[in-house]
């Protein structure tokens, strides 16, 4: 049985009085976050839960800790606001304009330590938030740009499971076989 708290809220960005529905999200470590339903629906996973009428008092998210969840919510809020302010076609972070203020915000947003970045990727994947997933994966890809394989292994603590012969084989292929 769905029940949601209704409250009359005038947000800074909205010009008219509106009833904004809220939902509560519960992190894996038991913390609750109340957010506008429209913001929460940036996540396709949550959107489906709500639309299927399964959102009771709270939506539990056992895969996401509170630290990560609060960041994710911050991302969704920011992007939802930006979508509301300008024409829909201009707001995605993937827009070409490098002076787009949202791009700058996104760049700052992903300036976090590696563990947090990976947790954000997992959360974005689990919650199905395309923009965040693209942004965080691109950040990881950018961290690999121009590095040697050994540097990449060191940065991401990856074990080299090639034998010297196998590695030489792949190097040979890279050099002479194709492009």
């Amino acid at each position: 049985m769905a029940s949601s708290s209704t409250s009359v809220v005038v947000s800074n960005k909205e010009k008219e009085n509106k009833n904004t529905k809220k939902v509560t999200l519960k992190s894996s470590d038991g913390e609750s976050f109340e957010v506008d339903e429209s913001v929460a629906m940036e996540s396709q996973t949550i959107k489906h839960i709500i639309e299927d009428g399964c959102a009771n008092n709270e939506i539990p998210l056992p895969n996401v800790t509170s630290g990560i969840l609060s960041r994710v919510i911050e991302y969704c809020k920011k992007h939802k606001e930006a979508a509301g302010e300008s024409e829909p076609s201009v707001t995605s972070y993937t827009s070409n304009s490098t002076t787009n203020p949202l791009t700058e915000w996104d760049t700052e947003f992903v300036k976090v330590d590696q563990n947090t970045l990976f947790d954000l990727i997992l959360a974005a994947n689990y919650l199905d938030i395309k923009g965040l997933l693209d942004l965080t994966c691109k950040t990881v890809a950018d961290m690999m740009k121009g590095k040697t394989p050994q540097e990449i292994r060191e940065t991401f603590h990856i074990k080299n499971d090639y034998t010297p012969e196998e590695e030489a084989e792949v190097r040979k292929e890279n050099q002479w076989a194709f492009e």
Binding site: D142, I158, W176
Partner: protein, 606 residues
């Protein structure tokens, strides 16, 4: 940490965001899981050596494009190897939509038939420059029912019979190029136009077709692009038919242009060597206001007045080619730049009346300019380059034969046009080492550079070139002051170098070529004619550079016949083209010549 946390599909997402091919190649080397991600996600493969073919095709199962155009020795037997699969595995051919077999003339109808037959999703096929191909190969191609795009440029043996087979078999064809297929006549074209009604783009350049073909072509309901360059038997009578047919015709290349006045949707027109008059431009200006590209290279009758009339109506022009329109002056360029602010490409080769005033106009009005050709424009000077440097979006700049520019002018360009990737300074004799210093500090994106005959350049200047890491194409003909020291600096610094021309650099000896053979692993094409290399140097270069496919080795005075033998033997497996001095034809052993021929290498004798 990354691996234990990420599933394969997340790794794929990261992989897809990698920007460059070199990053993807590095990715493959990190660990086995990464290698598998690459194998599963890579869509396009351009194979360089046939001995890797089987291994690669076993690894990459999700290809949509396979390009064998630079792979030497593709033959029918190769196809057997390519199609041999483990019984229970999915073949690489499953999703292939695009097959590029350009220049693979070793492949004949048997192999071709099996190869195209194995690819159920094939939609695009390129067999251009397979000059031995004929009707039998056309028959093999006609079995590809879903074919949409076919390029058969220079398939000299294809006749009306072969074309008919294709027309009947490939009814969904949308793009077809028959350039240089000289056996084709009106009959073939007529049948094609009756059967392939989806055709949007057709190239019949250089065919011996007459106006009858134009009548057939004019009936194609969806035609947008038509190329008929150099058709000797075409005349004005035929062109009339285009006036009433082809309602969606968007691009036309032709020798004569009268019948175009009804083509309201025309956005591109290219006419080489045509006779035009001021009234032609009046026509364009009134009727073809959506014109975006106009090519008037070597046209007779292009005047200032004509251009001014043209740009009055056609303000959307982005690409303008005025090569050899010698009567054009600053006045016309001024009108052009004021009207067409979105100009992206401008070619003014041999327009010697153009001065710095025009460049001032360009630098003020056309800031989107990406491509500019000022070859042989002697009116261009340092001041002009200063004005031009305001066009900071410039990607390609040609200043060949501009003898009035010096290092000072080049410095303006080097400091402000930092996106430049292509620069031609052929015979700019006043360019020297200081200009190259400026270039190396400002233009980090330079990939193609021509310094041929800039004989003021010495080793000092060339060493600066070694700092331009992205350089892949370098022409340094006739740099008589260049020694091995300079060449070593370039080889060591420009790791991506793949095309190098050192003709007449007579002071470069073995030590320079040693460096080249050590560092320049990506070298694909080299001209060493008239250099001071000896047997040892030549062997090192031809033996060590495993990607080398095209070599020019004329007038190597210090190389003996034995030296040539050894060197050619070392690379006979991979060389595709070689240019050698004529006397060697009788001095080299028949064995080596036969081996080279059998391996598919084409030798040109000087």
């Amino acid at each position: 940490m990354l691996l234990s946390v990420f599933t394969e599909d997340l790794l794929v997402r990261v992989y897809i965001k990698l920007g460059s091919e070199s990053d993807r190649k590095t990715w493959r080397l990190v660990c086995k899981d990464f290698l598998r991600v690459d194998s599963v996600t890579r869509r396009s493969l351009r194979v360089l050596r046939s001995e890797f073919l089987h291994g690669l095709l076993t690894k990459f199962k999700n290809l949509d494009t396979l390009d064998l155009s630079v792979c030497p020795r593709i033959e029918d037997a190769t196809v057997s190897v390519m199609l041999s699969q483990a019984v229970n595995s999915v073949s690489w051919t499953r999703w292939v939509t695009r097959l590029v077999l350009s220049r693979a003339s070793g492949l004949r109808y048997g192999g071709l038939e099996r190869l195209v037959g194995a690819c159920p999703c094939l939609v695009v096929l390129d067999v251009s420059y397979c000059w031995v191909y004929g009707d039998r190969e056309a028959w093999a191609i006609s079995s590809v029912r879903g074919l949409r795009e076919l390029r058969m440029d220079k398939c000299l043996g294809v006749s009306d019979v072969g074309l008919a087979k294709i027309a009947v078999g490939c009814g969904k064809l949308e793009r077809l190029s028959l350039k240089w297929c000289m056996e084709i006549s009106d009959l073939g074209v007529d049948l094609l136009c009756k059967k392939c009604l989806e055709l949007k783009s057709l190239d019949v350049s250089y065919l011996k077709v007459t106006s009858e073909s134009l009548r057939s072509i004019a009936s194609l309901p969806k035609l947008e692009v038509l190329a008929m360059v150099g058709c000797p038997f075409l005349d004005d009578y035929g062109l009339q038919f285009l006036e009433h047919g082809c309602p969606s015709l968007q691009e036309l290349s032709a020798m004569v242009l009268y019948s175009l006045k009804d083509l309201k949707n025309l956005n591109t027109i290219r006419i080489d060597g045509a006779q035009v008059s001021d009234s032609s431009f009046q026509t364009f200006s009134t009727n073809c206001k959506s014109l975006v590209e106009i090519g008037l290279s070597k046209c007779v009758g292009v005047t200032n007045m004509g251009i001014m009339q043209l740009v009055y109506g056609c303000v959307g022009l982005k690409i303008v080619n005025l090569t050899c329109c010698r009567f054009i002056t600053d006045e016309a360029i001024s009108a052009l730049t004021n009207s067409c602010r979105n100009l992206v490409s401008l070619k003014l080769e041999a327009c010697d009346k153009v001065t710095e005033k025009s460049l001032d106009q360009l630098g003020s009005c056309c800031l989107q300019l990406k491509e500019l050709d000022l070859t042989d424009c002697c009116g261009v000077n340092d001041k002009g380059l200063k004005y031009l440097s305001r066009c900071s979006e410039l990607l390609s700049l040609k200043l060949g034969l501009c003898t009035n520019i010096s290092d000072k002018g080049l410095a303006y360009i080097a400091h402000n046009c930092i996106k430049i990737s292509e620069l031609d300074l052929y015979r700019c004799t006043s360019i020297g080492d200081d200009g190259l210093a400026a270039l190396s500090s400002g233009c980090k994106n330079l990939t193609k550079l021509n310094l041929s005959y800039c004989n003021g350049v010495t080793d000092r200047g060339v060493q600066y070139i070694g700092r331009i890491g992205e350089l892949s194409d370098l022409e340094m003909r006739g740099l008589v002051n260049l020694t091995s020291e300079g060449l070593t600096a370039v080889a060591a610094g420009c790791k991506k170098l793949s095309d190098l021309d050192l003709k007449h650099c007579g002071k470069i000896d073995d030590s320079g070529f040693w460096a080249l053979s050590y560092y320049s692993r990506n070298m694909r094409q080299i001209n060493m004619s008239h250099c001071a290399v000896s047997d040892v140097g030549l062997c090192m270069v031809l033996g060590n550079l495993t990607r080398l496919q095209d070599v020019k080795l004329v007038h190597l005075m210090n190389v003996t016949v034995k030296g040539f033998e050894l060197a050619l033997r070392a690379c006979c497996v991979r060389i595709k083209k070689a240019k050698l001095i004529g006397s060697l034809r009788f001095l080299l052993s028949t064995e080596i010549l036969e081996t080279l021929h059998a391996r598919g290498c084409k030798i040109r004798w000087e």
